[in-house]
Symmetry: C2
């Protein structure tokens, strides 16, 4: 089958690889109908050291179940499924607590050990726990939004939950990528009264506005902090969604939270320490979040997608087949594209 | 009047200072019946640079209201009151949210601007918001425990609340000082099933056991982390109360929290950054806490003190008059004493 293999920073190739197949009796094999490129794929795209073996990339997909192992009980061939970016058994103590990204038998797609979904097909470990069978047929009108349930919409929701967004709250979203934009959707959905988007790209800001952002701050660093404070009576916001992961964005996030506020972080941290240990202490700022247990959120978010109340699929601004994936990485890396959908 | 003045690290003197008096119409003056020395007073005792003016020390007291300003409405002369370590107006947006330590018109006792309570009397700004009038007369049997409501018991409770302690949870307490010991009381009171005390002082560990600690870990650093993991099936604990504030103790706290767990920090951080940004991200560990709004907690904790269900006053192992205060600092700094009560 054909798949996307990354060998080093900037080196993404479409190659023939061995077909995805059942290995464990708890596996399923899914034919990928829609996958995509993630902002987090850009980290290895910028920094990955050369690997002879390469990584089959991609951790977001919807598709049709092709075959299942002998121990798979709830998922069956022919099901249209969402594949969350992490696999999980669905039964361990962490899965039962709704934290599937810490599953004892779980892991992540798209690395040297577990192949990813920017491919014609993908092997799904722990299929019963991992996959979510959709109660609808293949419907291209909804496919884009359903696809976001595999990562970015669930991740934006997780940031909002971790940041304690609720009715009447003032919220800031740091980062205008696909996750940040889904964070705007999530914040509005959870009842936020005011949503301040921190970002600088005109098209993304425009989309944020359509998703529910009420204010835009395009300054950076100290100036951004000042501007958010001006907009909030000097206090800062109740909830900050940190959707980048850089030291500077986290510093901004921590400094625009008001006393007693919370920062929900979903941007993968690129530094070993968190800044502002003392100001966040004196302000009783809560820092929460991490890899989103998107599997836990599909059930909650799905009705809003199916009934059109939220349209996270609008974050896709380009569609390609597998041949176009290397250029899709380039385009996202150069901020020419917001998020690329892949129809293998 | 006589008061405790610190001029530099290790330089604590009992001196005659101008009498505490009403300055603002919202002030009260309180005759101190019981004050104490706090673990946090040991930071300036170790590090304070010389000040010609000095600091009148002390931020914990109970006492009798001597006089009130013309704008004071709810507090009156003769009231027996608890003085929380922070003053607060009781009416601002943060006070109404129960975060009096971020009061817009608030501040802290025992610095160069606002004199402290290791003295015969103390001026209380924002008396209506700050003071809590006790529904009991002067009762020496309860005085010690009532005194802890001004800081250490409320602070231990705050750590437990920030760490999301609840029924059935496994909790670890980092630090066996007075706050850590009150954290044990708080964790048990909130229903924790298992409470692991990390500490090395035999007498304090014994008291922790009487307060409800079920396990003791006396190792430090990596060994302490290993030991807590061994005790918890390899996962770590649901809730960690960080009651020290040093980099090493925070690192331990963050590493013994299980995925999805929370660290409630009340030890004043001595470093500018928080360690373990990445492991805490991958584990979805929540970091919360800060200066405890003890004023908010008095109402909840007081009945348990009055009815003897909790006895936080047992953290005091020495009582002195003002003359003994300098030696009290020395004794606490050398870990000869756990916590010193001062009866001016």
């Amino acid at each position: 089958m054909r798949a996307t293999v990354m060998y080093a920073a900037g080196d993404v190739r479409i190659e023939n690889v061995p077909d995805a197949r059942l290995i464990e009796p708890t596996d399923a094999v899914v034919t990928v109908t829609h996958a995509c490129i993630c902002g987090s794929d850009l980290w290895p795209y910028k920094t990955m050291e050369h690997s002879d073996r390469g990584r089959v990339m991609g951790h977001e997909a919807i598709g049709v179940v092709e075959s299942v192992g002998t121990d798979v009980r709830t998922i069956k061939a022919g099901d249209l499924v969402v594949m969350p970016f992490a696999y999980s058994d669905g039964t361990c103590v962490f899965c039962r607590a709704g934290l599937q990204t810490s599953c004892i038998h779980g892991g992540f797609f798209g690395n040297e050990e577990v192949a990813g979904a920017q491919a014609e097909a993908v092997r799904i470990p722990q299929a019963d726990g991992t996959l979510f069978a959709l109660p609808v047929g293949r419907d291209d009108a909804l496919a884009a939004s359903l696809l976001t349930l595999s990562d970015v919409m669930g991740t934006g929701h997780h940031a909002a939950v971790a940041a304690k967004v609720g009715p009447g709250k003032t919220v800031a979203v740091v980062g205008d990528g696909a996750v940040g934009l889904c964070g705007v959707i999530a914040a509005r959905r959870l009842g936020a009264e005011r949503i301040i988007m921190l970002g600088r790209h005109a098209d993304r800001i425009a989309l944020a506005g359509e998703f529910g952002a009420t204010d835009v701050v395009s300054e950076r660093g100290e100036e951004a902090i000042e501007r958010v404070r001006e907009l909030t009576g000097g206090f800062g916001v109740h909830s900050v969604l940190e959707c980048v992961g850089l030291e500077q964005s986290m510093l901004t996030a921590l400094n625009i939270a008001r006393p007693g506020g919370a920062v929900g972080r979903v941007g993968v941290p690129q530094n070993e320490t968190l800044p502002a240990a003392q100001p966040t202490f004196y302000g009783n700022i809560t820092i929460a979040g991490g890899p989103a247990p998107v599997r836990a959120y599909i059930e909650e978010l799905l009705p809003d997608v199916l009934e059109g109340r939220i349209e996270p699929g609008r974050v896709f601004d380009r569609v390609t087949n597998l041949d176009g994936v290397p250029d899709g990485y380039r385009a996202m890396n150069e901020r020419e594209s917001l998020k690329v959908m892949v129809k293998p």
